[in-house]
Amino acid sequence: MDWAYFLQQLINGLTLGAIYGLIAIGYTMVYGIIGMINFAHGEIYMIGAFHSLITFLICQAAGISGILPLTLLLMLFVSMVLTSVYGWGVERVAYRPLRGSFRLAALISAIGMSIFLQNFVQISQGARVKPMQPLVEGGITLMESANFDVQLSYMQIVIIVLTFVLMVVFSLLIAKTSLGRAQRACEQDRTMAGLLGVNVDRTISTTFVMGAALASVAGMMVTLYYGVIDFYIGFLAGVKAFTAAVLGGIGSLPGAMLGGLLIGLIEAFWSGYLTIEYKDVATFGILVLVLIFRPWGLLGKPEVEKV
């Protein structure tokens, strides 16, 4: 067995998994608080990617793209802010008015929202693939073997570190702040939380906004990592991140991250050792298997259905 190849796939898989994990957190948080899948979340991620691309182009036009850290920070900040507004909008338009309605209603309206957002970007920005030159180049050669060298690029380091930092920050946010407390309260019992003075509407909105902000970071990282985006990337990434959230146990933050990493690794190893064409099939296959044998996921708790 070629360990160099294995190591390279491991690095690639972890990078990919970090991105999926960030998107998956959005799914898991929203599911935790309102018990529904945010179907438009994949599109939010795609919008985040577009926002960061456009921010970069504006930086380029303004002539400050030479200062790399500033450009990256601007991309991160602008895309997080603008994309969060979309997250807020999705909740406000597609979810809030239907909160008391039957389950399928919100799901269907979210699907409509997803189709709308996708086509909105397609029309406003064009259907073509948008290329972007690599910003962070170079890397470290970890290991040299007969066939090829194992590379850990700086971009991969940035992605993994940034994901780790965001994870820590958000975990603290949920565990320590009053906002996090309100979220956990709403998760347990929305009516009771409302009676005790928690602003339920605002808490749910904040949850969507936080999910969107994380998804936009994922979008930015994909833009930088792969260098191409188009209006359709949200669909597949959304389904995969959802798989990650389910695999880790929907509703659980560490679970989402774990699931993301696992999905990333599985995808990387599947493409590395088996067939690259069927990597999406592998992901969906895992989703089905998890749902059959352990619907509550790796770190989740079984749900008891009540009347």
């Binding site: 507004v85 909008g89 597609a94 699907i111 999406d280 749902l291």
Partner: protein, 506 residues
């Protein structure tokens, strides 16, 4: 206006604050995605700025919000309708500007309406009038004593519709039967009607799953694909005729439905939605990559056309040993014969779907579907096996999808994975949702609106999916149970159907 505000809960400064808030939201949402366009240049991506679009977006949001405030505070129904119409015109204006892409500050819409051709003037006025009328008549006057005229009107329509469904259905069937006699020579009309009919059939098939059993299936197109590919492959590799393959295609699709459904139907609705979505993608990925069998992205071409029930052939040069359709009936040869035959074929297939659904609804299994949709836990405690019941709905729905797929393959003569994307599933779902889940006539109307109109207004094709998406959201907000009507369970305890309707109207 200030007096009006004073009497209500919201005062002027709050309204200004609210409007400012939404203006900022609109600004943040549109500033990059609308305000800046990425343009491909040989040197890389460049930017083009479109500030006018941002301004229009903000304007549309603020005016629309003001309309909603008027509505909330119950101020002047006329004012509400005017504001909402203005907002809609502004949004429309934005679409027009996407195509014009110049810096004109005068609205092309307004210009067109005033000085354009007669047609555009009429279309423009009609557009505005329809929005205005819809807005005006759907606004509710909230003063308690007033009986809501619009609700009364719509309830009258509802009642008339509900008590006359049979007649409406019959008229519809007759219309579709005589359709080729009216448009017999118009090739494009028949083609369009056939297309609409395919979607009606798909809608009816999906309606069993979504409308009756309440299972959200986002991968319905997978079964359509299975049907299409089963026919194409059977006919190419084993030289089987269409009439033999048609039931086989249905059986294949149904078995796929069972294979997929068995593991996932125990899950809650939203999981099911994602898994079916994933399954639709898997089928497509497999079709693209299994080159030896399916021809990959190239698809399968020159699929055999159906014969006249194995008795006669439709082609101009009839192969040896067969007779032509025109010879059989002693007519002149016409290429329209085949198209009209195909039209009737899909009409019959669709009507069979409809008939089976109507009958199933009266059988124990249909009742179990509806009961399961309403309350799963209750069903389980009454001894209904939810998995098997759902599975049967899933399989039957899939079977009709398979029939439609086989028809699609034989009509097109060419199939490729391109035809079976998620968007197709979304369109079929949109038809079911728009029509009112469970309502058979609703599906017909929705299919005509969603497939027929876009085909007629080709130039608006690129906005089709955008409007689909927005339409699905709007209908869910406005009438979560469907546009035309939602089918209540066929029987209810202690409540005759008529009382139920009356209760709903109240």
């Amino acid at each position: 206006m200030s007096a009006a505000f004073a009497s209500s809960r919201t005062n002027g400064s709050e309204v200004v604050k609210e409007l400012a808030f939404f203006a900022v939201i609109a600004l943040l949402m549109s500033v990059m995605l609308l305000g800046v366009e990425t343009v491909d240049r040989p040197t890389g991506l460049e930017l083009a700025v479109r500030w006018d679009l941002v301004l229009i977006a903000i304007g549309a949001t603020v005016i629309g919000r003001l309309g909603l405030i008027f509505r909330r505070e119950n101020i002047s129904r006329l004012g509400q309708a005017v504001l909402i119409t203005l907002s809609a015109v502004a949004v429309f204006e934005m679409f027009v500007r996407f195509r014009e892409l110049d810096d004109r500050w005068v609205s092309p819409v307004v210009l067109d309406m005033a000085f354009g051709s007669v047609v555009s003037t009429i279309v423009g006025i009609a557009f505005v009038a329809i929005i205005f009328a819809t807005a005006y008549f759907t606004m509710k006057d909230k003063t308690a004593a007033d009986v809501d005229e619009s609700a009364k009107l719509s309830s009258k329509i509802q009642l008339a519709y509900r008590s006359n469904t049979k007649k409406i259905g019959l008229i519809g069937i007759i219309f579709f039967i005589i359709f080729p006699f009216i448009f017999g020579e118009d090739r494009s009309a028949i083609d369009l009607a056939t297309l609409v009919m395919i979607y009606i059939m798909l809608g009816w098939g999906l309606n069993i799953v979504v409308g009756l059993a309440g299972l959200l299936d986002l991968g319905y197109v997978a079964f359509y694909a299975v049907g299409a590919y089963s026919y194409a492959l059977l006919s190419q590799n084993f030289d089987l005729s269409f009439w033999l393959c048609l039931p086989l295609a249905g059986i294949f699709a149904a078995s796929f439905g069972i294979i997929l459904g068995f593991p996932v139907l125990r899950l809650r609705g939203d999981y099911l939605a994602i898994v079916t979505l994933g399954f639709g993608e898997i089928i497509r990925v497999v079709l693209i990559n299994w080159y030896d069998l399916t021809g990959g992205p190239d698809g399968i071409s020159s699929i055999e056309r159906p014969s006249f029930f194995g008795m006669a052939d439709f082609s101009r040069r009839v192969p040896d040993g067969a007779i032509g359709f025109n010879e059989l009936f002693g007519m002149e040869y016409s290429s329209m014969h085949r198209l009209i035959f195909l039209y009737y074929l899909i009409l019959v297939l669709a009507l069979v779907t409809n008939f089976v659904t109507l009958r199933l609804r009266k059988l124990p299994i249909g009742r179990a579907w509806e009961a399961l949709r309403e309350d799963e836990i209750a069903c389980r405690s009454l001894g209904i096996n939810p998995t098997n019941t759902k599975l049967s709905a899933f399989a039957i729905g899939a079977m009709f999808g398979g029939f439609a797929g086989a028809f699609f393959a034989t009509r097109q003569g060419f199939i490729s994975p391109e035809s079976f994307t998620f968007l197709e599933s979304a369109v079929i779902l949109a038809i079911v949702v728009l029509g009112g889940m469970g309502s058979q006539i609703g599906v017909v109307l929705a299919a005509i609106v969603m497939i027929g109109f876009p085909e007629m207004f080709r130039e608006l094709a690129e906005y089709r999916m955008l409007i689909f998406g927005a339409g699905i959201v709007a209908i869910m907000l406005w009438r979560p149970r469907g546009l035309l009507s939602f089918r209540d369970p066929t029987i209810l305890l202690n409540m005759s159907q008529k009382e139920k309707v009356a209760g709903e109207v109240k």
